[in-house]
Symmetry: C2
Subunit: 655 residues, 2 copies
């Protein structure tokens, strides 16, 4: 069969069997997508929105027994890797587990203080949640525990209404209840497969938010670093700074000197580990070493000075149950739910992002929805066992990864170490000075200020930079939830702005080819006389339909005045390249039809090129295709131009 | 110069002077857009967002005197048409002006009742605002006056806080102040060129909103139609219906009979005029005729029955000044501002839409921003002269247009007629029964329920239909502002959903051409062995970047299993057609770069095709282009496929 015959046969067997013949080039007809019922479309849409990863794919063509095994493996990933677990893997996991434990203990105590909670809660939170994650989680490298951002946000949101010192029991109840709601929210996002909600905290937003939060947290640590006794519980920069400056009389030199020394040590070790990732253990071990040294030091000088405050008594023993402390009614419920939502979404974002980062380094997949459920259930269980919000922590996971963790067993090892600490070592922390915890926190949060990323945002995308700046200053000057809301608003506005004022581009032909490209961008491209070819770079929606109409009419006006100036042949045809018009709604359809009518009155031909499937379908359903005539829609700009030109030539040739 | 030589020369003089030579086809390099500074880009962006119509274009290349004249004409469009005004135009305008006046008088009284305002305010509002509009407005056919939707919304929003009967002065003050703020808001939208704000009330939303409001208003008229004395002031369907049913004892047959008779007459005349637009005057004259007949009838039977309530005393005389009634402090200010905003945006939307509709019928342009200023100033002036919110009314404009109006003079004629009425004819309305006003309102609002349009929405765009339904039920069951907010939310969500879960399409080649199209849609299209060609139909943003990555990886997985089943040659190259990717942000760029790394690990080549200007620029700024290599970006899919295939062939040919 010759090539030519093949092409014709293909054409005639196609569903859109209108083969148009012209003298010069073969013209292809624009097809409708295969017909589907409204239900089929809805099904496909729902599948696209909620099941983009096609989670049931593996269950197809399987026996029932296999399906049960697959189901179990899918709910408890531990069944996937446990059978292959061996001693060699265990050795790696023990080393990495002990390493993160040495980080987890001082971090747990410090972050609990950040949330205005008793230090012991931080240790409890490093015991139960990692165990649960190791059964449910699908990441191999995630180090689970309390994290700075969520701790800080919880502390700030709760302590604006309730004093953690005066109403300590109520405060604790609120913290557990908020943790419970965070867990419920996270697990339901996963169950309802609404993972895309966390995508709305764009990276740009998070960079600004984290930096803003880090600045405030670092400033708040001045309380311990300067030895101030009376300090604000507010979270904005103005009250914090004024609190620091107004209590200058309370500053004392002992904590200042001690804090500075350890701060310098910690920052130096961090710097060394960043320069040489192989020396990760230096920065991983530094916090615990500092705690030990400073505790011994304070113990030795305990009778000499009173100006260095220390942790004091910590109860020995395992996590007490806290189910009885959750409450589901009363005036503070709204606050608990709100705090739960915000800390939940923030910790989820961090957990998922960290999980994905290390998964991509080792080239395995982390399932977002499953991770959400794991983190959610972990927090729900945590809220019943005296833990507050936990998630995958970036610092812990990085250390875990560098220490050679192979599976979630490293979390179990860490948990066990914390268990030993809780059972036997708590009295050792009696003399641990608060100033060392402040130094650990400052070191941790300073690493969160990523000015290089912010500079890159500025260079690449100004609107992303704006979102970043908004969340930074929003958090600094207004409040955490409002700062986040403003940043999400800016991000959404960015999407909307792109739709409200879409780009339109005038196309020209690159001579000798069938390629049509932007005249402004490609100097090789040149105008086709009598044609104005426009590409619209956006869906046509209610939000831009009247703008687009005005803009296209202006293009025509400007083209006509250009033609007049240059004495070229007059404009006869407007070609609208719809390739990038990925969707249209009823307002958009109306605009196309109005535009056609207006141009008809000006004796201008109006044709569309290459509408995508859904657009073609809607144009068809709304009977616009009929009014344009099938001849008014072409597959490529090249075909449109040559077909229309040849029609004109034929008209001139006739008498 | 030969064609071939020309092409080569073009290439070498182009700004992207990397001409790539291959054995089979000429490969074109993808160019960057012409370089611009951040300031130039900002300037262009601002011009695009705020000045899409290039308003200063006409002022260029003009003498100063001409510029002043043009400026005056642009502020006061009356200067544009007044010099050409003649007796013939005047005759048409007088006829149409008198016709709309006959409609305006009963409508003014009825709509004022809808807003719970004294009937005389409706007449005042038909006098001053039309005069101001005729000087400032750019539409020739707009009939200006109070409209049902804005009246209804104002009535409902104000009377939920203030009783119009008990606190009548405060209510009046609130109405004028709200009108003032509506005007300020409208004028500032125009001045700040923020006209696109009203685009967010999409047509689908407005169809649902109008129908919902119409149902409630029609039900509320049952008060007068059934002769009920005690009636709810709430606006939701539940209290209104229960109010009707609970006061069955107050129903009386006289107003019911009278109301039904006139309702039938009015609906019949409306029906006739709709069938035969030439008989427009029948429905235009019907309200005034009904008012006259019913008033005479009630006058005649005034001593026989008490159960038909009538308007009563109306003060004679011109609009009294009401500047002293505006207030800018106090507890009710927030309510006035909120009411002003919502009635302002609703009446603006109606006014602009109506203006555009009739302008397009006569093929002239109405400038949106200028119209906003005209309507805004008209309302600000109105609020100082005892008028409430007015705008271009659809019913009035339709009658005006059909009666042959030629210029805004018809508004002046209407105004003068209302003036005469105010000065001399007010006592005639003493016995006008309320039931006739209710019948006029019902007839007007029933015409607003456009179920055919709703059905078309369902057929063409399910999500538009959802927005319509949401606003319908939102208004019916919740409240006007919340119903509107929900509908706008749905509309915005529609835009976001398109971005969150964009379409990806697998492309194939239409044999014998360089055209690549959707395999699902075009049966003529066929796969190229070893290639997977994907088109992404959306910008790549933070909101979809992780989804797109997952989806593309799933495409590859599915393609590989298909290849395995069919024993075809293995997958070697992924081509991403970026034509419809109209924007990218930093998250999107990161995704592209991650995707490249992942595919590299799977030994798959990854190339991009035809990124649009802004996307190419960002890829370049973020140094991704360098990592892909210039060879990783092609201008067309065809060039990518043939270039890569020929490289492979060359590799096989070598030892």
């Amino acid at each position: 069969m010759s090539h030519e015959a093949n092409r014709v046969e293909n054409n005639s067997s196609s569903p859109c069997n209108v083969a148009r013949e012209t003298t010069i080039v073969e013209i292809h007809t624009v097809c409708l997508p295969p017909e589907k019922t409204a239900f089929q479309k809805l099904k496909r849409r729902v599948a696209d929105v909620f099941f983009p990863d096609d989670p049931l794919q593996r269950f197809r063509n399987q026996t029932w027994r296999n399906r049960v095994v697959l189901g179990l493996k899918s709910i408890f990933p531990i069944f996937t890797w446990a059978p292959q677990y061996n001693l060699k893997l265990f050795r790696s996991d023990v080393i990495s587990g002990l390493t993160i434990a040495s980080l987890a203990i001082p971090q747990g105590i410090s972050y609990a203080k950040l949330a205005n909670l008793p230090p012991i809660i931080g240790l409890y939170s490093s015991f139960v949640p990692p165990l649960i994650y190791s059964i449910l989680g699908s990441s191999k490298h995630l180090g689970v525990g309390p994290v700075s951002i969520a701790s800080l946000v919880m502390g700030s949101m709760l302590s604006e209404s309730i004093s953690p010192t005066q109403d300590s029991t109520l405060y604790l109840k609120l913290a557990f209840t908020a943790t419970f709601f965070a867990g419920v929210f996270q697990a339901s996002l996963g169950l309802l497969r609404l993972g895309f909600v966390i995508d709305f905290l764009s990276k740009a937003t998070l960079i600004g938010f984290t930096a803003g939060a880090a600045v405030i947290v670092a400033l708040q640590q001045l309380k311990s670093l300067l030895g101030i006794v009376h300090f604000t519980s507010q979270m904005q920069i103005v009250p914090v700074v004024s609190s620091v400056l107004n209590h200058r009389s309370e500053w004392s030199w002992q904590p200042i000197v001690m804090g500075l020394v350890f701060l310098i040590i910690l920052l130096t070790t961090r710097h060394i580990s960043m320069k040489k990732p192989k020396l990760f253990w230096i920065s991983a071990a530094a916090p615990l070493t500092s705690v030990v040294i400073s505790t011994v030091f304070v113990y030795l000088i305990r009778s000499k000075t009173q100006s260095i405050s220390f942790i004091g008594y910590l109860p020995k023993g395992l996590n007490p149950p806290s189910l009885n402390m959750l409450f589901f009614s009363g005036t503070h419920l709204a606050l608990a739910i709100k705090t739960g939502l915000i800390t939940g979404i923030l910790s989820l974002t961090e957990g998922i992002a960290v999980g994905r980062t290390f998964a991509s380094l080792k080239n395995y997949q982390v399932n977002g929805n499953k991770e959400m459920m794991a983190i959610g259930f972990m927090n729900m269980a945590g809220s019943c066992t005296s833990c507050y919000v936990t998630t995958g922590s970036f610092s812990r996971s990085a250390v875990n990864y560098n220490a050679g963790a192979q599976t979630a067993v490293s979390n179990i090892v860490m948990s066990s170490t914390v268990l030993v600490t809780l059972l036997f070592l708590m009295p050792l922390f009696y003399y641990t000075p608060n100033v060392i915890l402040a130094a650990i926190i400052v070191t941790a949060v300073i690493g969160l200020i990523d000015y290089e990323a912010a500079y890159k945002l500025w260079k690449v995308d100004k609107l992303d930079f704006l979102a970043c700046i908004c969340s930074f200053f929003g958090v600094l000057f207004i409040s955490v939830p409002l700062g986040l809301a403003v940043a999400v608003g800016v991000s959404v506005l960015k999407i909307l702005l792109h739709v409200i004022r879409p780009n339109t581009v005038e196309l020209g032909n690159i001579s000798g080819t069938l390629i049509y490209q932007s005249l402004e961008r490609y100097t090789e491209a040149s105008r086709i006389p009598s044609f104005l070819i426009l590409a619209i770079e956006s869906p046509i929606y209610f939000a831009n339909s009247s703008y687009l109409q005005d803009r296209i009419l202006r293009w025509i006006r400007e083209e006509e005045s250009r033609i007049k100036e240059n004495n070229e042949s007059s404009l006869k045809c407007i070609v609208l390249d719809m390739t990038a018009v990925t969707a249209i709604d009823t307002s958009g359809i109306e605009t196309v039809s109005e535009l056609r009518k207006k141009l008809e009155k000006q004796a201008l031909q109006f044709v569309l090129v290459n509408p995508v499937g859904s657009v073609m379908e809607k144009l068809h359903n709304s009977k616009i295709v009929e009014s344009l005539g099938l001849g008014g829609i072409y597959l490529t700009v090249g075909e449109a131009v040559s077909d229309i030109s040849s029609t004109w030539k034929a008209q001139y040739a006739q008498p």
